[in-house]
Amino acid sequence: METVLTGLATGFSVALDPFNLFLVLAGCFAGTLIGALPGLGPINGVAILLPIAYGLGFSPESALILLAGIYYGAEYGGRISSILLNVPGDAGAVMTTLDGNPMARAGEAGRALSLSAVASFVGGTFAVILLSLFAPVLAAFAVTFSPADYVALMVFAFASLASLVGKSTVKTLLGATIGLMLATIGIDANTGVPRYTFGIPDFLAGIDFLIVVVGLFGMAELLTLVEHQVSGKLNSLPVDKSFVRLADLAKCKWAIARASVIGFFIGVLPGTGASVASAVAYGTEKRISDTEKTFGTGDPRGLVAPEAANNAAAGGAMVPMLTLGIPGSGTTAILLGALLMFNIQPGPTLFSQRPEVAWGLVASMYIGNVALLVINLPLVGLFARMLTIPQHYLTPLIAILAFIGIYTIVGNPHDLFLITLLGIFGWFLRKLDFSLAPVILGFVLGSLFENNLRRALSISGGDWGYLIADYKSVTLYVLAALIVIAPIWLARRARLMEGDNPLDQG
């Protein structure tokens, strides 16, 4: 407890620095804008703005505070387009459309927006509180991890990724493997042997993380926007004067509480972020409270559950990223890559060695959540107006921002071609139902995975049995097996039940 308090004190002294405070607010504001724009979610927003944030030459904690602000600001803003347009900004906001949009259509857009803002605030704040309590404990435990345990942790991370993310397990696994393979390009750090460089000097240091991120996310997103291009304006429902009432909060308090808990713990699981969390929270809430079959027709509880959950998941995803160096979601994978660019190795020692970064980030999230609530309640009309920005201005703007980012950092015009090509590749992957988060997770974790495996086998002198010699790694392998088998088993059981009671369908 004491470490938490002193840590938070350090953190707030960093986060309350006027410049960092400004960055929190700027990040939250920009994030909400990005989240509100239809089609642009947190991951694309962070991907496009990462090189620019890096190029501004901030200190690592300032850059991270800005990017994290954009991240949870975008989770916050995603609900605006879901509610008013019925177009989710990203996968995490899909569930919000189910009850949010009917409320807006019933003339209660203002109430839906303000209620979901409160739910997001509660979910986000709950997650930050748990983050500041759990993270130091988990970090203290993770210090004892041996390389073999880290290998087991990676296997667990990829198992939960393959099992819970995306439509097809094989495709998710392949996506992660593609990421891992991309990470092997460059000089092997242990032996100095070049791998897959084909004599091209630019590849010796490996493919730049920024290029992969901007290409796979920013440029692929741009092509997707062009593909689904709608000419003219989208029809946005008007924001009226209705507002959240105390009776709503009283009715929804348990829904918010349950969803926050679910969201946080799903967020902590490596690889599974807001989309899984909001889906599970909505499903659970529907099973518990949908006694009058009002879900899907504008029930406020169906609105608050996914909103509280996806903001809690955004906070939860920070836990493994900061304590283990293993990102909890695609977006935190990008934040992790951002830390690596500043030569900061996230992991168990981050809280003790770079407290200003770790605690500064945590403290900025407290401030950010309050700021988001304050920004969102009165300014929601302004953000809603952003929805009507025609796509034909937005799409070129993404390309221009991506080019500025890559050119200012790398300063090499060949990389502009490389991001375009990676964008085409990413578009194909998305089109064929591969999710891109596993690719970036694989890319970020590649060297960590390989180095720990090699270190473990060096310790044991090449004996593979060493990998399962410790109770920690065995536990992780068992959990990994469970997380792969459980959904298959549950699906089979559900199918059997369905077969038994065909009447349940009606």
Binding site: G55, V170, M181, Y393, I404, T420, L432, L453, R454, G461
Partner: protein
């Protein structure tokens, strides 16, 4: 079908990756039991296994992209490549004006609006990034020549 083609292409790439992993990569000394080659070998086997499963049981059959959409995507990619090609020679402002106006008008905005957008994005973007944020963007030879007297007039005012 599309799934199979894509998986087939990736399979060729993965096989090439595997061949390199199994034959070419060698450390002059064995530093650790695995060496630099084992990890890529493992990865290539996993990738090939996944790809064989996809080839055996593909799930996406159609791209679901209309012909007009393919055309639009192709044009976008050509514009992006042209933008990348002209980025340094023309400089940020001119290339952005061209790219912004072209993509904007292709996406359905009127000619006047597209040009306004392009000019605004090019000039505002440059001023914002270079003067305010201190980022490095290509000036281009033409702009360099035009801007040359600018610092002097600023100094006198």
């Amino acid at each position: 079908m599309v799934d199979r083609i894509f998986a087939g292409v990736l399979l060729v790439v993965s096989l090439a990756y595997a061949v390199i992993a199994f034959t070419t990569i060698k450390a002059p000394f064995q530093y650790d039991p695995l060496g630099p080659e084992s990890w890529p070998q493992i990865l290539s086997l996993v990738a090939i296994a996944c790809l064989l499963v996809i080839l055996w049981k593909p799930d996406a059959t159609e791209m679901g992209v209309a012909r007009a959409t393919w055309f639009r995507l192709g044009a976008t990619i050509v514009m992006l490549l042209a933008y990348a090609e002209l980025y340094e020679p023309l400089g940020f402002i001119l290339s952005t004006i061209l790219f912004g106006a072209a993509l904007c008008s292709m996406l359905g905005a009127g000619m006047a609006r597209s040009v306004t957008f392009g000019v605004a994005a090019g000039i505002a973007g440059y001023l914002l990034c270079v003067t305010l944020l201190d980022l490095n963007l290509p000036e281009g030879e033409l702009i360099e020549w035009l801007l040359e007297p600018a610092p002097q007039s600023e100094g006198t005012s």
